[in-house]
Subunit: 456 residues, 2 copies
Amino acid sequence: MKIPYKIYLSEEEIPKAWYNIRADMKTDHRPMLNPATLKPVTAEDLSPVFCDELVKQELNDKDRFIEIPEEIRDFYKMYRPSPLVRAYCLEKALNTPAKIYYKYEGGNTSGSHKLNSAIAQAYYAKKQGMIGVTTETGAGQWGTALAMACGYFGIDCKVFMVKVSSEQKPYRKGVMETYGATVTPSPSDTTNIGRKILKENPNTGGSLGCAISEAVEVAVSTKGYRYVLGSVLNQVLIHQSIIGFETKAALEKYDEYPDIIIGCAGGGSNLGGLMAPFMAEKIAGKKAPYFIAVEPASCPSMTRGRFAYDFCDTGMVTPLAKMYTLGSSFIPAPNHAGGLRFHGMSPILSQLYHDGYLDEARAVGQLQIFEAAVMFARIEGLLPAPESAHAIRVAIDEALKCKETGKEKTILFGLSGMGNYDIGAYMQYNSGSLQDYIPTDEDLEKGFACLPNVEE
Amino acid sequence: MKIPYKIYLSEEEIPKAWYNIRADMKTDHRPMLNPATLKPVTAEDLSPVFCDELVKQELNDKDRFIEIPEEIRDFYKMYRPSPLVRAYCLEKALNTPAKIYYKYEGGNTSGSHKLNSAIAQAYYAKKQGMIGVTTETGAGQWGTALAMACGYFGIDCKVFMVKVSSEQKPYRKGVMETYGATVTPSPSDTTNIGRKILKENPNTGGSLGCAISEAVEVAVSTKGYRYVLGSVLNQVLIHQSIIGFETKAALEKYDEYPDIIIGCAGGGSNLGGLMAPFMAEKIAGKKAPYFIAVEPASCPSMTRGRFAYDFCDTGMVTPLAKMYTLGSSFIPAPNHAGGLRFHGMSPILSQLYHDGYLDEARAVGQLQIFEAAVMFARIEGLLPAPESAHAIRVAIDEALKCKETGKEKTILFGLSGMGNYDIGAYMQYNSGSLQDYIPTDEDLEKGFACLPNVEE
C-alpha cells in the first residue's frame, strides 16, 4: 500500500477524549506548592485564578481520559484532524533510507498547535459564565490562538503582550485585535504591578514574567474573569494529547510505527501532546520509540538546568512546580530569535525525563536551526516556525545518521507551527546578522541562585 | 450521509490533466495582437519572452486537456488536494437555509492559489534549460509563490517588486529571499526603463506596469531567462483549472451541485480556475450554476469597463488583449487595500461575460469586504486575504437572500488565499481609517481615452 504524502483522518476519527498521562505515570507526582506555605496547592487556592473545570484537570492524577465536549469537537472539525505528512521530498534530498513523518499543526489561522488548548480553555470559561479571560503573550502564538477561541465563543480576551514584542510584531497585535481581543503592551499603567515596574524602570521593554503578573492581577481583581496559560500546565498537556492520538491512528492505517519521536520543547506542550500515546506504551512496558526533546542552546533547561521546585514566572507570583529549570530569573539573550524562551519545563515532561522515560534532551544553536528551516522550506514547500525548526534540525540529523548506518528507521517529528509571522527572524538569518548565544556556567549559576529553598 | 466540515480527495484524485476551456468556447477567439503591427501575435513573437511550452499553451485553442507532468503532480501532492469546506458555522450564524461551501487555496506557505501556476511555469523554464525567470509582484502573493516554485526546482528567480509595496510589506520581501529569490524594488537602476523612470521622477513609489516593464527587459536581454506572469493569461487559467476539477469531484462524493458559484476577480485566475468544469457544462448546454464575478468598486473593470483591445500593463510593452478594461493607465486609489488592482481582466473571463455565460459581475466596496472578512474570521476560524473576502461578502449576501426567500440554495465560493500577510490592511480597517473609494465617471473617461485604436 503506497503511503500518500499526507495522511488525513476523517472527522469521526478525531479523538473523543483527551488523555491524562499523569494517571499512568509510575511516579510520586510532585504537587505544585503554595509559595507562601510550601504546602501543596488546593483547588481552593487555584479557583480565583483558573476556571473550575481547568483546576480539576490540573490536579487530576486519577482519570486516564477526559471527554472532549461536543462544542470543542465542533471547533476542532474546522481545522482538525491535522495532516500527518510523509516527507518524501526531504527523504529524497537527504538520500536517506529513513522514513520521515511530521505532524503539521500550523495549518490553522493562529498558526500553531496552541489553538488545541485555547479553544478548550475559552470553552470552560464561557461555560462557567465568565465574561472573559486574561493572559500574557510573548511572540504571539498563544495570544493569537486565544483571541480566535474567545472570538468564536464570544467572550472577552485581554492579552498583555511583552512591550518589546508588541513593537517588533505589530501584526501579531493586529490579528489579535481583529479577533476582538484587547492587547495591552506590558508593563502598562492599567495594573498595580505594571505601574510599580514602570515607576522603577520607565524605559523597560517588559518581560513575560511581568506580563503574567499583570494578567493574573486583572483576572483575580475583575469580576467574571479568569487567567489562562498556553503551555507548561498539566491541563495544557491533556488538551494537546489530541496531536499524538491523531498521529498514532494515522500511522496505524499504514502499519507504521515510529522508531524515534522528536519534538521541540519550550514549555513542553507540543512534544507532550505528540508523544502522549506512545509514552503510555513505554510506561506500560511495551515496545516504544526513542524520545528526543529539542531545546535551544540559549535556553537549555533540560540539558543544563536543575530538577527543582521553582516559580513558573519571573515575577514569582505563581505556585511552585517541580521541573527542570534555569531559575525564574533566567532570560535568554535578546538576540535569540527561535522562541522556546521559557526558563522551566512542563512538570510532566520533567518527571518523565528525570525517570528515564523521555530518553534524551538535545540542545541546538539557532544558526543550525535556521539552516534546517530554510532547507526544509525549499524542499518541502512549507516555511516552519523557528520553534518547530528545532525538531526539523534533529530529524535531519537523525536521518543523516541513518544514511551512514544504512538503517531504515522511521522518524516522526512535530511541526508545531508555521513561520509566516516570523519573517523578521528569517531576514536576520538571511542577512547574516543572527548569531549563536550559549550561556556560560556563570550565567546559569546566577539563575540557580534564585531558586526557592524547598526541602523535600 | 453526513457531509463533513472538510472534504478531502485522495492524492490519486488530483487531476492528471489541466483543462483548456478555450477549446470548448463557442466563440471566435480574439487573438492577442502585436501592438506594432496590430496583427495576431505568433509563437515567434512570444518566444523571446515566454518559455516555449507556455507559449504553446497560451495560443492553444484546440486541445481540451493538457497533461500535467509527473514532476508537477509530485509538487502538488505536498499541498493538494486542497480542502473543500462546508461552512457549517457560517450557515448557523447567518441562520440561512442555504448550504455554503468554499474551496480553500490558502493552506500552502505562499498563502494562495498562485502556487498552482507558479510551479508549472517554473517547471517548464527548468525543462527548457533556463537559468531562471523574471517577474513582477505588487502585494506579493505571486512573487512568493514563484519564489517557492523556483526554490524547489533550483532555478533563479528575479522579482521586481513595486517599490512602495516592498517598503510597506518588508516581510513579503523577506519570505521571497528565504526561498532564494532576488527582490529588487521597482523602479530600479538595474534596467534602462527603470533608470529612465527614475530620471523623470526620482521619488516615484513605482507601479505594477513599471515593474512588468523592468522584468520583461531583463528577461529578453539576459541569456537563459524568460518572463513569467501570475494571472490574466490563458496559460494561467489552464493551470488553475485544477481548483475547479477538485471541487467538482469533492462535491460529487456527496451528490452536491452548486446553484451559485462566486469568485473574486482581479486578473481572473482564481474564478477562472474554480468555475472551469462547471462552465464547460454550461457551454455544452447542460444544467449549470449561476456564476458571479466579484470585483472591487474601486477597480470595476467588468461592471464599468469597456470590452476592448488594450495593453496588459501600464507600461504599454505587452501584446494587446481583447478584454474588459478601464484603460491601461487606470490605477486604483492608493487607499485601496483589498487587492485586485488590475485594470483589465482575463480575456477568457471577459469573453465569457460578454457572451453571457458568466452571468454576473458585481462590484463591492472595501468596507463591506472587511466587514465580511472579520465576521468570517471569527465564525469560521480562518483569516481570509482581502481579495478572497470579496467572494465571502457576496456569498454572505446570497445566503441572506436565501434566508428571506426560504430557498435552500447551494452556494460555492473560492477562498483563494489567507490573510496572514495582510494584517496591515486589517489594522487600517480596525482603526476606522479605511474608506471606500469609487471612481467617478470622469476618472474612468481618462482611462478610456488611453485605449489603443484597434479596428476589428
